[in-house]
């Protein structure tokens, strides 16, 4: 390949003397390969191939003008509040918090059998529907557009749970991402990140001391 034959006359030196010599120009490509290898190494080390993953979130506006009437009130029966506390622990309660009973707050974990199992149980209907849709998509019965549209319809359905995520100051960023991840895994469309109220702090303390605080408060 890397040779150029100037073939005027052909290589018949022995027979005729007058004809031109066959010129074969061999180019040694080794330095070229060396240089390319160096460049490749440079590019491999100094660049990143994959773009990072992202999560898109919409936060509620904290505009003071919006009155409580404008907000959608969440039905107590559908509300699940996750409280992310420090030390990788996660608590949850459903509906309204019960300050008297420390058992209303439940301790869970970030593992698959922890909060995820609970959320999946609460969201069985939607999860089932979405699984069906995925099956259909796999068999190419519906297009991607239809799929995304229907998924968002199911996620925004009436009977799906609404999750409120509240994180304590001691919780890490990873905890928050893990919690948001669970929302995605469990196909929960309605979730919001909210601020901790003193009530939640009280609940956690109450839980950790096994109801000491509410006993004291009752006295």
């Amino acid at each position: 390949m890397a040779e150029i034959q100037s073939n005027e006359g052909g290589g018949k030196k022995k027979k005729g003397g007058s004809k031109q010599k066959k010129l074969s120009v061999h180019i040694d490509f080794t330095p070229m390969v060396d240089m390319n290898m160096l460049l490749i190494t440079f590019f491999m080390l100094c660049t990143s191939l994959s773009k990072p993953q992202t999560m898109e979130i919409n936060m509620p506006s904290n505009d003071k003008k919006i009155t409580d009437q404008d907000r959608d009130a969440v039905k107590a029966s559908q509300a699940i509040t996750l409280v992310l506390a420090g030390g990788d622990s996660i608590f949850y309660y459903t509906g309204q918090p019960d300050y008297k009973d420390f058992n209303s707050l439940k301790l869970s974990s970030y593992k698959a059998d922890g909060i995820r199992a609970f959320l999946l149980k609460r969201n069985t209907e939607a999860v089932k529907k979405i699984d069906d849709l995925k099956e259909k998509k796999m068999q190419l019965k519906i297009s991607l557009d239809q799929f995304t549209k229907q998924v968002s319809e199911i996620k925004g359905g009436k009977n799906t749970p609404v999750v409120i995520i509240k994180a304590a100051d001691k919780a890490t960023y990873k905890n928050l991402i893990d919690a948001l991840d669970e929302m995605q895994i469990c196909n929960i469309g309605k979730y919001v990140i909210d601020k901790m109220t003193p009530g939640e702090t009280f609940l956690i303390k109450n839980f950790r001391t096994r109801g000491e605080l509410s006993k004291n408060a009752a006295k």
């Binding site: 490509f29 990072p52 993953q53 100051d169 890490t172 960023y173 895994i185």
Partner: protein, 203 residues
């Protein structure tokens, strides 16, 4: 008996094919990869199952290190200069052309506006050393972070905000950043995560 004559073989290998392959690889790497941005602090993003990729351009990335220092970067150099200008205006500081030029080439910034002039006077190597010890103030008394975001948004309305925080960052810092963004009515943003290979056990 005569010896068997071993034909002298030339050990030359034709490197052309090899060269072809390397050039192809090189082209591939050059076209698909993006350069790693120089970041003042090491940040390990938490893993998530999210599969959305970050958009190509118009990104305002907010970098938060485990200790809660906040840095920012814009992907367009023109925006960088204009933002510096308007933030300077806001605080009554004017920057010279030379300072602007220096600011333009820095990948990430995170310097309190008061020390910006002194910082820009430093050499690039020295800048890298000191940058990690600064960070944009985010506290409620002197929220320069808010001003930066506001001005950057005013200059480029199509800007998307991406938060890149270390997985061990306390939520308190994230909360501060998020509240600042909420105050600016920036309610839509991306959280940068890395890929986690976890298959959801749906059944």
């Amino acid at each position: 008996m005569s010896k068997v004559k071993v034909a002298r073989k030339s050990t030359r290998i034709d490197m052309t094919a090899m060269s072809d392959v390397t050039v192809l690889l090189l082209t591939f790497f050059m076209l698909t990869s993006t350069f790693v941005k120089k970041e003042p602090v090491q940040v390990t993003t938490p893993g998530s199952v999210s599969e959305i990729k970050i958009p190509e351009s118009n990104i305002l990335s907010i970098l938060i290190d485990p200790k809660g220092k906040v840095f920012m970067s814009l992907d367009k150099q023109g925006d960088m200069v204009n933002t510096l200008d308007s933030v300077g205006n806001h605080y009554g500081i004017t920057f010279t052309e030379q300072e602007k030029k220096k600011f333009k080439v820095s990948a990430t910034f995170g310097i309190p506006i008061k020390s910006m002039k002194a910082y820009l006077a430093l050499k690039t190597e020295e800048q890298d050393k000191v940058l990690a010890s600064y960070g944009i103030p985010t506290d409620s008394i002197d929220n320069q972070f808010k001003v930066w975001v506001q001005k950057a948004r005013a200059i480029n309305p199509e800007l998307r905000i991406a938060i890149k925080a270390d997985q061990n960052t306390p939520y308190k810092v994230i909360k501060d950043v998020m509240t600042s963004l909420q105050d600016l009515r920036e309610n839509r943003y991306n959280l940068i995560t890395s890929l986690k290979n976890e298959t959801a056990n749906k059944k």
